[in-house]
Symmetry: D2
């Protein structure tokens, strides 16, 4: 899975070396309810995607498949919304309270995420 940027911002994330030697970034804080509800949603979405595979395999009527794709997209939007909420409450808040450099880096990152999701 591609990382969105090579150099993590100064402080908004916690970087740790992985066993593989690569470094992954972690959240400073995660609300347990957000985490649990997102894990549930993602399980359900995985099942919906398998359902889509089956519909395509069975030559189901395209508008019926398209309506299902839209419903998966909606479900993913729900996941994103909660990730944004969590990010703002923890890492982003921490970074925006920090130095101007830290804040600027967090703002650039948030605008990049916005841009990827809202255009």
């Amino acid at each position: 899975m591609a990382r969105s940027r090579e150099k993590p911002p100064p402080s908004a994330a916690v970087s740790e070396p992985e066993s593989s030697g690569a470094s992954v970034r972690h959240a400073h804080g995660v609300d347990p309810q957000i985490k649990e509800s997102n894990l549930k949603r993602l399980r359900r979405i995985e099942g919906q995607v398998r359902g889509l595979h089956k519909m395509v395999e069975e030559d189901r009527y395209c508008p019926d498949i398209l309506m299902q794709v839209a419903s998966v997209q909606e479900a993913l939007k729900g996941v994103s919304r909660e990730l944004v909420r969590n990010h703002l409450s923890h890492c982003a808040r921490r970074a925006l309270k920090g130095s101007d450099t830290e804040a600027q880096s967090a703002i650039d990152e948030l605008v990049a995420v916005w841009s990827k999701h809202a255009g």
Copy 2:
């Protein structure tokens, strides 16, 4: 999986009773390349969604997860685009060539699908 409308339009789809007694609608025609490429995409998307689940489980940095969600959504848009192409080439073309009632029904359905995906 919910069906988007109770009564299928007169002729754009082929309705068949399922073993369960419920009726599902099938496409009149499916381009083999579209089908194969969509099946491949959906397998990859299923893996990406599992990857998202793992990222959430490991408290990965939210913007990194959000970038991955956006990439799943992009991949789903690719699936939709091909489904639209297939639908226009087969079922919709057939219906639009048919009677005014058949054509109107196919147009209403396409506008509903458009609306669900493009707003």
Copy 3:
């Protein structure tokens, strides 16, 4: 205003030379109610955009402006939806009834429009 493609498809549009010498494409048919409601919407949207200009000029609170931008985008989606409906009912229907070449050209064009609006 840029034209989306240099060569118009064989028959889905009516091409006419303009006074300037350039050729513009026209619809084969336009539903009068769709036309009238779209003209009204676009007048309203023009006013909304002027309102946005004023809000920016007056340093209004960004989330308040952002909510207004979203409402302009919603209104534009309404316009698009009606344009799609009109196109399917007239030019696209005509082209899809035509030769395979005409149909293919109309399908490619519809997929391009879909792609631009739904991704």
Copy 4:
């Protein structure tokens, strides 16, 4: 123009009574380059919307109009992106540095704006 919420959050915006007696919210800070570029964009968008009106009036080919609508939508996304950047740099940063109540209110507002734009 409708206000998105009746009660402004404690501190993210500056509320002032208008001559009409109604209160409008203002930004705490606006980057002059963002303001100027957004004013320019909005003037251009206003012209594009007038162009759309003319295209509809002249029964122009629907896919050509639809491509223009998409380009207006793109331009509006550019305006939103800059408004988000400005908001994060000024009002949101200020609120996120504040008390938990102020921060929570700013986060709720940002999630609502996200939701309206990204779904």
